[in-house]
């Protein structure tokens, strides 16, 4: 049995009377510690797919099994725990809370999943140093550039030591150097900590660094 198993997964969006296909009958198995990249045209269903895997969207049909447990059947508390403890989300769009500083944004997942063993304050500082925001710990998102905000969001996704990182175009508006740094970071946590990574990107070069490369078209997955 594979670590993460996706079975006949479909998601159609219904708006008024018309339906839009987001993900169309996808089946996929991912091993623990695998680094997977997904490329595809805009609107092909990439965000929909990772949202289904991350448990922030309910599928129309099919199952998402993590270690044999179908996350779609979990109740809200259990599903929230799944998101808090196993998943690290990096969204395609700006996702920092404007009222919180960089440091507080990184700490936010910690209050939803209290863990007394680790010193979150230290972890957060280290993560922000690592993504190069060590100087701007107490800046608010409005005081940060788009790329800096993105880096804070990356640090935030790592706070709870997730098993799976779902990165939806995480380097979309970063310069090439930073992009390379982030990629290096991903490779490192993938190798050293054995974290499973699903990376969505438009950058074929970046995608090429993954162990497994997939392409999405019209809600379906094809190998490259």
């Amino acid at each position: 049995m594979s670590f993460l198993h996706i079975e006949n997964l479909s998601k159609t969006y219904t708006v008024d009377d018309s339906t839009f296909v987001g993900v169309d009958n996808i089946s996929l198995s991912i091993n623990r510690g695998e680094f997977l990249s997904i490329v595809g045209h805009s609107g092909s269903g990439k965000t929909t797919l990772v949202s289904l895997i991350g448990g922030i969207l309910k599928p129309t049909a099919g199952r998402v099994l993590l270690e044999g447990v179908d996350i779609c059947t979990l109740d809200d508390d259990k599903l929230s725990e799944y998101r808090a403890q196993r998943i690290g989300f990096m969204f395609q769009f700006a996702s920092l809370l404007p009222i919180l500083t960089a440091r507080e944004n990184v700490l936010l997942p910690g209050i939803f999943s209290p863990d007394t063993k680790t010193d979150n304050a230290k972890v957060a500082r280290d993560l922000l140093e690592m993504v190069g925001i060590g100087e701007k710990l107490d800046s608010y998102p409005s005081q940060l550039s788009g790329g800096q905000q993105r880096r804070v969001a990356i640090a935030r996704a790592l706070l709870n030591n997730p098993d799976i990182i779902l990165a939806d175009e995480p380097t979309g508006d970063l310069d090439e150097d930073t992009e390379a740094e982030i990629m290096h970071l991903f490779e490192e946590i993938n190798k050293k900590k054995g974290v499973t990574i699903i990376l969505i990107t438009h950058n074929l070069e970046l995608a090429g660094k993954a162990q497994k490369k997939l392409r999405m078209t019209k809600g379906q997955l094809v190998g490259i």
């Binding site: 969207l57 929230s80 989300f89 009222i99 919180l100 700490l107 936010l108 209050i111 939803f112 999943s113």
Partner: protein, 397 residues
């Protein structure tokens, strides 16, 4: 801050729009102060009436027919009225089955003959031999019976007379009296009277300067033998003696309480309307807040926030708002009640006043209702947002 908690996030949320927060706090404060005022008013009136009738210590009060209302006004509200019936009624009342002990008072209105310019005061003449109403108070304050030529002031009267000075001489209907002290406050209408024995009153009557004729009394207080129902004995009394009306202790102040019930209805209607309005306001503002922050709520959900976490976060925010508004409202309402108490003749005439315990209870009620309304108004929009799928609210803008 190197650490965050639900509280710190909620407080940061509160500080986002200080004007809006201020408006909400103000609205709640307004509602709660209205509530406090309304409750204080009705409770103080009702409880002071009850206290007064209990303090009198009589089971049945017998008055001339038609004077029931006057008697209540006199005893409970300290209005200055007079009513009389012949002395012979006493004998008739005595014969009624169930009557144990009885005593009578004669009330003499307005002592314009008193030395200086003073507010008209009532004179209460009592019979020291049979009395069970005044004697206990007299015993406490003076420690001896009143002598001929002596009078004692009720607690409220001495203020009127400007009596800090005891042992002053007063002229009442051309008779000299020595005012030997003042009674303790009793919380009844009798606080506003000047007391003397019947003998003294007879002297005034003989001098011919008062409107009163000899052999007239105003009121008879009776105590019943054990096991007799006051209402039943009262009906028998009224049936046997057509010249009198009877008020049972439980029925004391009924007319007044009926008026009060109407005032209560108005207060109730006003507060209910104000509550609905405030709930609606809180609902509208929190709907706006929920829509404004729906993306943030979605992000928090994606980061692992449970539905209960979202509720907790907003509950803290709304509780702080509600409590702050309610506390301000309680303070303002209590102050307002104290301030306005003096300008309501209804409250001035009765010996209104709330105990600390009553005030605390009313404050708690206000605090609870103010906060509950806030929570009720805010939870609907929050519940709606928290139920939505995280991705969809994140993208919704």
């Amino acid at each position: 801050m190197a650490k965050i908690s639900f509280f710190s996030v909620a407080f940061k949320n509160l500080k986002r729009k200080t004007f809006r927060t201020g408006v909400l706090v103000f609205a709640i404060a307004l509602l709660v102060s209205l509530l406090i005022f309304a409750i204080s008013f009705t409770v103080s009136v009702a409880s002071s009436l009850k206290k007064s009738s209990q303090r009198l210590g009589a089971d049945l009060v017998v008055v001339p027919v038609g004077a029931r209302g006057f008697a209540e006004e006199f005893l409970l509200e300290s209005k200055n009225t007079s009513f009389y019936m012949p002395f012979s009624i006493i004998e008739k009342v005595k014969k009624i089955e169930g009557i144990d002990t009885m005593t009578h008072h004669t009330y003499l209105s307005s002592i314009s003959g008193l030395c200086c310019d003073i507010v008209p005061t009532r004179i209460v003449a009592f019979n020291p031999a049979t009395d069970f109403i005044i004697n206990p108070w007299l015993q406490k304050s003076l420690g001896r019976p009143l002598q001929l030529g002596e009078a004692i002031a009720g607690a409220g009267t001495s203020e009127n007379l400007g009596l800090g000075l005891l042992d002053i001489e007063a002229t009442i209907f051309d008779n000299r009296f020595k005012i030997v002290g003042e009674l303790e406050k009793t919380g009844t209408g009798l606080d506003h009277a000047l007391f003397m024995t019947e003998e003294n009153l007879n002297n005034i009557i003989e001098s011919g300067k008062s409107p009163l004729k000899k052999g007239e009394i105003s009121i008879i207080f009776t105590k019943l033998k054990k096991g007799f129902d006051p209402d039943f004995v009262g009906r028998v009394l009224e049936g046997e003696i057509p010249e009198v009306d009877v008020v049972a202790r439980s029925g004391m102040g009924e007319k007044f309480l009926n008026t009060l019930a109407d005032i209560n209805k108005i207060f109730l209607l006003t507060t209910v309307l104000a509550s609905v309005l405030t709930t609606f306001l809180v609902w509208a503002i929190f709907s706006a807040i929920a829509n404004e922050r729906s993306k943030e709520i979605g992000i928090m959900r994606a980061l692992g926030a449970k539905e209960s976490h979202i509720v907790k976060l907003y509950l803290i925010e709304v509780l702080v708002l509600g409590l702050l508004g309610s506390i301000i409202g309680v303070l303002a309402g209590t102050y307002l009640s104290a301030l306005l108490a003096g300008s309501f003749s209804l409250l001035k005439n009765i010996s209104a006043g709330l105990t600390v315990g009553q005030q605390a209870a009313i404050a708690l009620v206000g605090l609870f209702i103010g906060t509950a309304i806030c929570v009720a108004g805010a939870m609907m929009p929050i519940n709606r947002i928290k139920k939505m799928e995280p991705l969809l609210v994140i993208k919704e803008e």
